[in-house]
Symmetry: C2
Subunit: 264 residues, 2 copies
Amino acid sequence: MTYCLAILTHAGLIMAADSRTNAGVDYVSTAQKLFDFSIPGERVILICTAGNLSMTQNVLTLISRDLKTRVASNLNDASTMYEVAQYIGHLTRQIVEDNRSWLSKDGIDFQCTFLVGGQIKGEAPELYMVYSQGNVLRATKETPYLQIGEIKYGKPILDRVIHFDSTDLDEAATCALLSIDSTMKSNISVGPPINIVLYKTDALEIKHRLKLLENDPYLESIRYSWEDAVKKAFRDLPTLSWQTSSEAYTEAENWLSPRNIYTS
Amino acid sequence: MTYCLAILTHAGLIMAADSRTNAGVDYVSTAQKLFDFSIPGERVILICTAGNLSMTQNVLTLISRDLKTRVASNLNDASTMYEVAQYIGHLTRQIVEDNRSWLSKDGIDFQCTFLVGGQIKGEAPELYMVYSQGNVLRATKETPYLQIGEIKYGKPILDRVIHFDSTDLDEAATCALLSIDSTMKSNISVGPPINIVLYKTDALEIKHRLKLLENDPYLESIRYSWEDAVKKAFRDLPTLSWQTSSEAYTEAENWLSPRNIYTS
């Protein structure tokens, strides 16, 4: 499995990814899933990958090949982030179509998804998801983050903390790491090192990138602070009153009895 | 969708369920998913249901029919909770087999799962999951809770708070409601009313049951307390230092560059 997420705010962009890959539980390995295709001063392009590793690697290889051979439409030809996302969607369709019938025969999941974020000089920073089918979706002010892979465990904290207009980039980075850490706790197929990048709007260059290893002191410090705070918050919750809530128990009626539903 | 969970501790059992059911997003309705088949003083049997509503309703109908016709093996004949779970697994296999080929033809998911908790006089309280295939799994001291339906959003809080030996029943009930509330926030197909039951070991009777409606004051109070505490806990986290973490950025090497992987 995999967990990658990207957060777009008024101040810029955070992109982060775990590095675990597995084929079943008996083949676990490490794979980089966050890639930087930037040309400092001109364009920042960051790509996160999830899904079938063979498919995503093939797409990245095609991106690199097109850059090398300088074919007419390559990553650096695109004049907007929308075109960048469309181009990656186009390559994804090509790779998936080449492999679909062979993988389908053996029931192998060939789905793959991408997060594509960055800024091209003269444009605003943008963030896209590219689906396995090649279509693209843009992050908006209403939902300024996108996730791929094992997305559920780490979503509640994003919903509670991230706001396009008010969250600053350091907060967004901490929230991204917390989101990944919660996911690692529940899903063993998501694991370190964690790669994370911070991009400030209009910098047109990545100045902040970190690779956090298994026992990284910061990761451990937010993990323990968070656990303690969550336990304290839980202890401080008001106690449930079994008498005063909206529909209290009356001896006369057990509405949970199946007799209320079935005439047995 | 559905979210049901049950927590077994040294002190007894908590079982809780949402009440939303849907066929696609354009057909949403309410369905009870927590049922009480207890005979006070003799046995407490609680059942939660998830999955294809037609399948789970059929299983409950067979349970009721067997109780009415007093066939040799019915819910009240079982002398252990293990036998209760096995019996429900047996009925599930019957219903699933009757319908499998017809539902499969049209690609309809016929999976259904059950949580079965309670106590039979002379035995300890036990908690089981019954799978769609009819096999059963018992909750243990190491993992004293079981979930069915939309299980991921509500799992992190359970992992952090619930311990078989030390969590009391009121804490477990609050944690169950928080777990359901987090799930409702992220998945619109999980919704109120929430039914929750508290069972004290050896009481052999359900004395605490609640149905919490949409705007239940307690549910709102823990929701807002929790949101505030989570936001505060987040603000109090140590700030990420981009310089001092385990592998800081050096100008010389951009390890996120695809050039480290592809020779383009």
